[in-house]
């Protein structure tokens, strides 16, 4: 089952072979992840270091010369912060928040889905009714509600996105796990005296997880957009840790005076990243659908 298994790599490659747009998406995702990870090494300036900022460099258009003699490729904001550097650091925060939220949220959802399928009875009823409750509200509104109640901050945004992520995965996993529970290997494991938790994690989980893995990229791009929207509305990450959404919000005040670069460049990066993830997600979903695969 390990990821290094050559046959699995070959399988993944098979999904992408002959689909140049999806391959471009994969390359794009790799690029953005590398930039985000190595931002402190790559960025021309540390945008949070006040001593490196010069208010005289404020609101310069792209390709301007800074006071230090450096060229600011994408211009500067009102505080004289280099947009390119701010975008690189913002990317880190956006990706960190969304990945943590989706992985924790999906993990929670998968666990609850498996639990519902194994225990049945009232446990299943409670879990599935909670799923229904959550699914009857649009995600962005639920997140707004939660942030209105508990206040803002990086941790709060992550909680809000976790609550947005778990329900659909629980529903998905439960439906697969219910049919897996009827199969003989589960009975065999029971007869061998293996404990419930071990059956769940070693037998049921690997056999029920595929549909969740298929929707995971879509969940991540959704979380990136949701985080950006919340931060843009001023109920997300704090000003000291600006994600891409907050950078766009900062530029919003200058948009009407024609200073477009402050909002547009962070937005372009945001869209490019979401688009890359979405084309890859579309490809994985189509590949996982045996009906569509037969037509290829």
């Amino acid at each position: 089952m390990s990821k290094q298994d050559p046959t699995r790599l070959e399988k993944i490659w098979k999904a992408f072979r002959g689909h140049p747009i999806a391959i471009a998406g994969l390359i794009g995702i790799t690029f953005f992840l590398l930039v985000a990870f190595f931002a402190p090494l790559l960025a021309p300036q540390n945008p949070y270091d006040q001593t490196q900022l010069d208010i005289l460099d404020g609101l310069l258009p792209p390709m301007s010369q800074l006071g230090t003699g450096q060229t600011s490729w994408l211009g500067t904001d009102a505080l004289g912060r280099d947009i390119l550097s701010a975008v690189m650091y913002g990317l880190r925060i956006s990706l960190f928040v969304s990945f943590v939220a989706v992985i924790v949220g999906s993990g929670l959802g998968v666990f609850l889905g498996l639990l519902a399928a194994m225990k049945r009875g009232w446990v299943e009823t409670v879990i599935m009714r909670s799923v229904d409750l959550k699914m009857s509200f649009p995600g962005i509104l639920l997140a707004l509600m939660l942030l209105a109640m508990f206040g803002t901050g990086v941790d709060k945004v992550i909680y809000a996105l976790i609550i947005g992520a778990w329900a659909s995965k629980a529903r998905l996993v439960r439906s697969v796990a219910l049919s897996e529970m009827k199969k003989e290997y589960i009975d065999a494991a029971r007869l061998a005296g293996i404990g419930n938790l071990r059956i769940m994690l070693r037998f049921l989980l690997p056999n029920s997880i595929s549909p969740v893995l298929v929707v995971l990229p879509m969940a991540i791009s959704g979380a990136i957009t949701a985080e950006a929207t919340l931060s843009f509305l001023g109920v997300g990450v704090p000003i000291t840790e600006p994600s891409l959404g907050l950078l766009i919000a900062n530029g919003n005040d200058y948009l009407l005076s024609g200073k477009w670069w402050i909002s547009i460049f962070p937005g372009l990066v945001l869209v490019a990243m979401v688009l890359c993830i979405n084309v890859v997600a579309d490809r994985i979903r189509d590949h996982a659908n045996p009906y569509l695969r037969g037509k290829e």
Binding site: P138, A148, N252, L275, D282
Partner: protein, 321 residues
């Protein structure tokens, strides 16, 4: 059927009760209203007097019951910021939100369905591939950033449409609306387009997959064999059959549209209920936030209830599950 409706009604009531507990817990217990409202120079007696005035000195269960009975009477309290009954504030702003929502839905249906049918009928054409790519792009651009692009393009560079506010209004049955005069309508266009882009993409995809299913049905072949013209086949046989799921999902998505109006209204300073919610969150105007959340809960529960009952009417299998 009656037992299904009653059972479903019971579930909906439980849902509303659970949500009211969550909202009450979130808004009244997590944050201390006395701490929010009290000034720095308040003495301990002042704080206790304020707590008595707000009713927060009583046990939680009593507070919750008071909260519930006030809501049942339609009394959501008075806004801290505007110093007016919350219900009036919300009802006053509702028409502005609804008229943009209706315009956005119409745009989605009018543009999305023809594009979807075209894509479904002509799978291999270049235009179909472009439409498919455009819908992916449309899905990928966050709503709020689209709004900024629209402002930059139409208001800052081309200077053809206003970027904020509601413009002139005309009274229709005593309710001020924007769509009846050009100034108001021009203010409506950008917010409506902003909300519509996602709808257009969704309607296109829905009608494309609907078309692909319907076009291979026997009755389509038969209609063609009868010598019915292509336009008539599309109008009378195809459109009618793909419309049902589209209408259902459009209805279901109404809630999503109201939710996203918070974003659109904030960017375009459109004075609807979405902007009211955001402003109230920023000003810690608790009564307004609570009223909005309860109102939205009731709306979603009602929509889901109506849809489920309609489905049960259309499909008897659901009733006996």
């Amino acid at each position: 059927m009656l037992s299904f409706i009653l059972r479903r009604l019971g579930q909906s009531s439980v849902l509303v009760l659970i949500m009211s507990v969550l909202v009450f817990a979130g808004m009244y217990v997590v944050s201390d209203p006395v701490a929010v409202l009290a000034g720095d120079d308040f003495t301990e007696e002042d704080r206790q007097a304020l707590a008595r005035e707000l009713g927060v000195d009583k046990p939680l269960i009593t507070q919750y019951l008071v909260f519930l009975s006030n809501i049942a009477k339609g009394d959501f309290g008075v806004s801290f910021v505007y110093n007016r009954p919350v219900l009036d504030l919300i009802l006053e702003r509702l028409p502005a939100t609804l008229e943009v929502a209706v315009l956005a839905i119409s745009m989605g249906l009018i543009l999305g369905i023809p594009m979807g049918i075209y894509s479904g009928l002509n799978r291999e054409k270049k235009a179909t591939k472009s439409i498919s790519f455009l819908t992916t792009v449309g899905y990928s651009i966050p709503n709020f950033w689209q709004a900024l692009l629209l402002i930059l393009l139409c208001s800052v560079w081309l200077k053809i449409l206003p970027a904020s506010g509601r413009g002139d209004t005309t009274d229709l049955f005593g309710i001020p609306v924007s769509f009846l005069n050009w100034d108001g309508f021009s203010h409506m266009l950008l917010p409506a387009v902003n909300l519509a882009i996602y709808k257009i993409c969704m309607q296109t995809r829905l009608s494309r997959s609907g078309t692909q299913e319907v076009m291979y049905q026997d009755y389509m072949t038969f209609a063609r064999a009868k010598g019915i013209s292509k336009m008539r086949r599309i109008r009378r046989h195809l459109l009618r059959n793909i419309l049902l799921p589209i209408v259902t999902i459009t209805g279901l998505e109404l809630g999503g549209l109201i939710a996203f109006s918070t974003v659109t209204e904030t960017v375009f300073s459109w004075p609807g209920i979405g902007k009211l919610l955001l402003d109230s969150i920023h000003h810690a105007d608790r009564p307004v936030v609570v009223a909005y959340l309860i109102g939205i809960t009731l709306m979603f529960v009602t929509i889901n209830f109506v849809v489920d009952v309609l489905y049960a009417l259309l499909d008897p299998r659901i009733r006996y599950k």
